[in-house]
């Protein structure tokens, strides 16, 4: 798996590829090959084609290859939360004005697929649409850019972002893969033109689409990185049954699915295909939570909420669930492995993370007794998605069964599920937090008070918690951030027992071995422009 690290595709190498023919080097050092069509499967079809308004990965996988962005995660190092590189800019800027001004120089000579030049004005128009959506449009990421005061283009090759206050969250927000750069002219013509049309400057040109079936792209010969992309084209095939997608890889109807497969499917594919399949794995910046409704009895009682988390054996669960579901890492509120995340020792202090589960369960039973609900019964609401929702929900129910709590699980499709969360019509619900660029400072916004949080459904208001969050976002001192993060975590998971983390997801991508130049990242939203991908056939 780690082999892929040595296959780092260097753009210039492609130009040299033709010359390299005849040198029979070891396969590891093989230069990327030109040509071929990549088939991949996508679980869903996105509602519209406008990246600025959509939030689903189903938009990214088929459509990201059509667009350039200002900056992106490093495709050679996509698992790093801090390694960003330029796409349309010439170099990553150093902030000026005490961290409040960022000036980007834009690559000259970039062309849209219709041949018109891409300038700083197009970038400004796109970001204005994202940050300050005009009347009549919707942008899903306004909250990411609360710190931005203005975005201007003093000339054709310069973009200046002015911030209200310095923030460590700005650059990661900028690198969000949905920030497609659109043509200013098209936007002026119709601000919503991009909902149903595609016209970018990315490595691939849009060829066509069949409703519910596929999206097809072909090589952009004028791509602004010379020699890229390697592929002649790609075809994103929609298939909403996981078993079908797994079999599609097996029967070579597709080379890869970029979201992630369960461990057992990986093992079956490896068993069936041997060296024809390569597996890449990564911790995933998505986590399943469970949240009690603070407005409902008896969950208004902090003792009951603590009992619920104390009853859950995360260390044991990680071991067994990682064999059947796409979850693995035990962690707190921050992405495990990030410098801001809790260490194992720190975690073991929190309820529900104690090393001795029997002690933990005894304490849970004691708390329930004390709260007067020794044989608690409730309904756990869950989203009707098998991996990992149903599996984790079913596991939670069995965990609670062992502290004498009886739980019925009710599953709903995404729409009604969210409607229920928003109207707070639940006892306890499974919930999730799934972000693209790893950025714990913003990602934990999920846990804030209901009036300011990003989809915080527990129905609680905790101003002290909000203050810790605010302080964390306004300091650039990492040690201070880390200290505040621990306070935040302890408050959410322990003292106030607002909402609980179960297990972090684990991304498993088994793909056909002939697919090269793609590296797994901690998010299925990242590193999907396919510019560096090539086929070794």
């Amino acid at each position: 798996m780690k082999l892929s690290r040595y296959l780092r595709p260097v753009p210039i190498a492609a130009v040299g590829a033709a010359i390299a023919i005849g040198f029979a080097g070891p396969p590891v050092q093989a230069a990327p090959k030109q040509g071929g069509t990549l088939n991949f499967v996508v679980p869903d079809e996105p509602p519209s084609w406008d990246g600025h308004r959509e939030t689903t990965f189903a938009l990214i996988h088929p459509f990201a290859p059509f667009y350039s962005v200002l900056i992106k995660v490093n495709p050679d190092n996509p698992s790093s939360p801090t390694d960003f590189v330029c796409d349309l800019c010439t170099e990553m800027p150093t902030p000026a004005d005490g961290g409040k001004t960022y000036t980007f120089k834009i690559k000259p000579g970039v062309k849209f697929h219709d041949g018109t030049p891409l300038t700083a004005h197009d970038i400004v128009a796109s970001f204005r649409k994202i940050i300050f959506p005009p009347e009549g449009t919707t942008s899903a990421r306004v909250a990411f850019f609360v710190m931005v005061d203005s975005v201007e283009a003093p000339d054709d090759h310069t973009v200046v972002f002015k911030l209200k206050y310095p923030s460590g969250a700005f650059i990661p927000a900028l690198a969000t893969p949905y920030n497609f750069i659109y043509s200013k002219a098209k936007l002026a013509e119709d601000i919503r033109w991009y909902e149903k049309n595609v016209m970018g400057s990315g490595p691939f040109k849009f060829v066509g689409r069949e409703a519910g079936a596929y999206v097809r792209g072909e090589r952009n010969k004028d791509y602004h990185v010379a020699g890229l992309p390697y592929l002649d084209g790609f075809e994103a095939i929609f298939s909403n049954k996981q078993a079908v997608r797994v079999q599609a890889i097996r029967g070579d109807r597709a080379a890869i699915e970029f979201r992630g497969f369960p461990p057992k499917s990986r093992d079956d594919l490896v068993a069936a295909l041997g060296k024809d399949v390569t597996v890449q794995e990564s911790d995933w910046n998505c986590v399943l939570l469970f949240t009690p409704n603070h407005r409902k009895k008896p969950f208004d009682d902090v003792r009951v909420r603590r009992a619920l988390t104390l009853g859950v054996d995360r260390w044991g669960g990680s071991e067994s669930l990682s064999r059947i579901a796409i979850v693995k890492a035990v962690g707190g509120v921050a992405f495990p492995g990030h410098p801001l995340a809790a260490t194992k020792v720190e975690l073991e202090q929190l309820p529900g993370y104690w090393p001795d589960i029997n002690k933990s369960r005894a304490e849970a039973k004691r708390l329930l007794q004390e709260a007067g609900v020794p044989d608690l019964k409730f309904v756990l609401w869950n989203r009707a998605v098998d991996q990992p929702y149903t599996i984790v929900g079913t596991w939670l129910i069995d965990q609670w069964r062992q502290i004498g709590v009886t739980v019925e699980q009710k599953m709903e499709p995404t729409g009604p599920f969210y409607a229920r969360l928003r109207s707070q019509d639940f006892d306890v619900t499974v919930d999730f937090n799934c972000q693209s660029v790893v950025n714990p400072l913003l990602d934990i916004g999920k846990f804030l008070s209901e009036d300011i949080g990003n989809e915080s459904y527990g129905g609680y208001t905790d101003r002290d918690l909000d203050k810790i969050f605010e302080a964390m976002n306004r300091t650039s001192d990492t040690a201070e951030q880390r200290k505040l993060m621990r306070q935040f975590e302890k408050r959410v998971l322990d003292e106030q027992a607002h909402s609980f983390v179960t297990l972090w997801w684990n991304r498993i991508i088994p793909h056909r071995s002939y697919l090269k130049g793609w590296k797994v990242s901690p998010s299925h939203y990242l590193n999907q422009d396919l510019a560096n991908v090539w086929l070794d056939k």
């Binding site: 919707t138 942008s139 899903a140 909250a143 079999q247 729409g415």
Partner: protein, 323 residues
Amino acid sequence: MYQYILKRLLLMVPTLLGAALLVFLLLRLVPGDVCVLRMTGGAGYVDPKAITLCRAELGLDRSYAVQFLTFIWDFVRFDFGKSMWTGRPILEEVGLRFELSLQIAIMATLTAIILAIPLGTISAVKQNTWIDYVVRGFSIAGIAMPSFWLGVLIILGLLITSKALFGSPWMPPIKYVPIWVDPLYNLSMTIFPALATGYRYSAVATRMTRSALLEVLREDYVRTARAKGLVQKLIIRRHALGNALLPVVTIIGIEFAFLMGGLVVTEQVFNLNGLGRLFVASVTNHDYTMTQALVMLVATIFVVTNFVVDIIYAWLDPRIRYK
């Protein structure tokens, strides 16, 4: 006869209107709406104003009465409008899926007829012998097996046997290509779901053939033929089968109408981009316009099929006309 046809035609109107009202109300009873869903499918902050705006755009803020009347008026003019989920014309979204569903429906119907008529005939002629039991057992097994289970077994069987025979696993294509573009590719995809569905559907038709034939075999004219000393085979072919076929044709017609849009589960298993999958997707997406259009499409197919069957019956049996 004209009067009868006219009467039957007029009776279609309240049925379609009722189906329209039913789907309209059902959809609005489902909690949540397309705007909430479209903006919160992933994670992230959603501006409540954006949702209001989206509702206004889609006309969801109008009163139900206005929405319903608009829907009916558009339907009458065959203007299906745009999908609320994708914002694209419904005709465009439905077209390709309709083609696929139609092809599978036709192929499955053919499979069913080829299986059902001989099996049903044998079963009736050899009533209550072991042949009858085997045939009935075989055909009922077709109804008893969950179709998705059968589908999963078929795909798995293909993957395993092809690997054993040719060294690399093969599975049916997962992307539809029209039959006139690449017939072989098309058939290698559609044949398996068509067989799976056709088998299941033949079970119903076999039973129908059997009982219809049994009934006819007891009619006086068949007895007369037998008394005349005609050979059993000839009796069946010349006298009985023709008359027994009418109810069988009815069943096949109704089943055909059902196949258009009813293959929800089979389509999932074989990754067929047909009407059934679109149906499920549009209901779960709260895509009102799309679901409404699909329900009206399927209801119209159903009503028209019934109408045609009724007319054929009336034409054959004058008693019905004057009832």
